[in-house]
C-alpha cells in the first residue's frame, strides 16, 4: 500500500469500530485479554466516560460519565440510534500496574493518561520512569488494537462477532 505523504491514513470508522469492539469484548471476557507476546495478559475495561458523535460529524453530541457509563441503557441506546463512539476512558491493569487513559477521536490520541506512581522524587528519574510507563501503556493499547485488527480481518468478524454485537447493542447479549 502506498503510504500517504503524511504517513498512514487515519480512518474514522476504524477507531469507532475498535472502541465498540473493545467495550463489547471487555464485557464478554470480564475484562480479561490475552494479547500474546510482547504484552501478555491484561485486564482492560471501560471506565467512567464514553462520548458519542453522529457518523457525519466530528463534534461529540453525547457524553456519558460516571462509573456506570458503560452499563447505562443510554450508552447502548446511543449506539442503537446510530451514533459512533468517539472517545472512551479505558482502565488497564497489567501485573500490579494500573493505568487509565482516554482514547480520543479517529486518531486514537492517548489523553489524560494516568500512570502508576512508581518513582515520585528526583526530576530525571521521574521523567525516565514516566516515559517508560507511557511506552508500556502504548504497548498495551497497541496490543488491544492488533487483537481487534486480527479479529476484524478474519471470517469470524462477520460470522460470529457482528451478530453477537448486534444482540449486545439491543441488550440481548
Amino acid at each position: 500500500m502506498a503510504e500517504a505523504k503524511d504517513g498512514l491514513p487515519i480512518l474514522p470508522h476504524v477507531a469507532g469500530e475498535f472502541y465498540v469492539w473493545l467495550w463489547w469484548a471487555s464485557e464478554q471476557q470480564s475484562g480479561r485479554f490475552d494479547l500474546g507476546d510482547p504484552v501478555g495478559a491484561v485486564d482492560a475495561w471501560i471506565d467512567d466516560r464514553l462520548a458519542f458523535r453522529l457518523p457525519s460529524e466530528t463534534r461529540v453530541s453525547a457524553i456519558m460519565t460516571g462509573d456506570d457509563a458503560p452499563d447505562a441503557m443510554e450508552s447502548r441506546a446511543a449506539l442503537a440510534g446510530g451514533k459512533v463512539v468517539n472517545e472512551l476512558r479505558l482502565a488497564i491493569k497489567r501485573d500490579d500496574r494500573e493505568f487509565s487513559v482516554t482514547l480520543k477521536g479517529p486518531a486514537m490520541h492517548l489523553g489524560q493518561a494516568k500512570l502508576p506512581a512508581m518513582v515520585t522524587e528526583g526530576g530525571e528519574e521521574v521523567v525516565f520512569e514516566r516515559m517508560h510507563l507511557y511506552e508500556e501503556l502504548c504497548l498495551i493499547v497497541a496490543g488491544l488494537f492488533r487483537h481487534y485488527a486480527a479479529v476484524r480481518a478474519s471470517p469470524a468478524w462477520e460470522v460470529d462477532v457482528v451478530p453477537a454485537l448486534r444482540r449486545w447493542v439491543v441488550g440481548e447479549g
Partner: protein, 204 residues
Amino acid sequence: MGILSGALSGARFRVEGDLPAGFRGVFRDRLNATAFQEPPQGQGKEEVEGWVLTQNLLDTDFTDLNRWLIQDYALLALRVDKKRLPARLFRATLEKRVQVWCAERGLERCPAAVKNELKDNLEAEWLARSLPSVGVTEAVWSIEGRYLVLGTHSESTTDRFRKRFLQTFGLHLVPWSPLDWLATSADVEALIAQVPADVSLGGA
C-alpha cells in the same frame, strides 16, 4: 502536558529522518541557535518564537544537556509571544485623535495619510507599553524511539511546531496513525480492505 506529574496528554508523531553523527552536541547547538530571544524594545505585532526549557519559559540556554536531555528523551518547549491590541478601544481612541487633529486645524476631514500616521503612532505607543501574550507548547521526544508527544491538539499550533522542529533538527514530524500499531503492511492492508460495519456498531 504532564511530563513530570499528573495526567499525560498529547498528540503523537513519528520522527522521520536520519540523526546526525554526534546528535546530542549537534542538537544542543541548534537549540541554542534557535532559542527564544527577547525582542528589542519597540516590538511590533509580529510574533516572536523560539525554544525554551520546560522548567521555566525564561530559561533559554541549552548548553547543559542534563537540563533537557534525559537518557534519550529530549524535553522541549516552543514559546511564541505576540502582542495584541484591544481592537475596539484602539479604533475609538484613534477616532478621538482624528477629531482633535481636525479641531486644531479647523478642518472637517482628516486626509488618509494623516490618519495613517496617527494610527501608526498610536499603535507604536500602545505596543511599547503592552505585554505580549505568551504561548508555550511542551513536547517530549524519544530520540531513539523516533517518536514525539506534543502537548497540544490545536492544528495551527501543531503546524507551527512541526515547521520549527524541521527547521531546527532537519527531521519531519509525521502524524501518528493507529495503523502504525500494526505489525506488518499486510496487516494494514487487511484492515483497510474491510468494509466499515454499519453505524449501529460504531462504523461511520
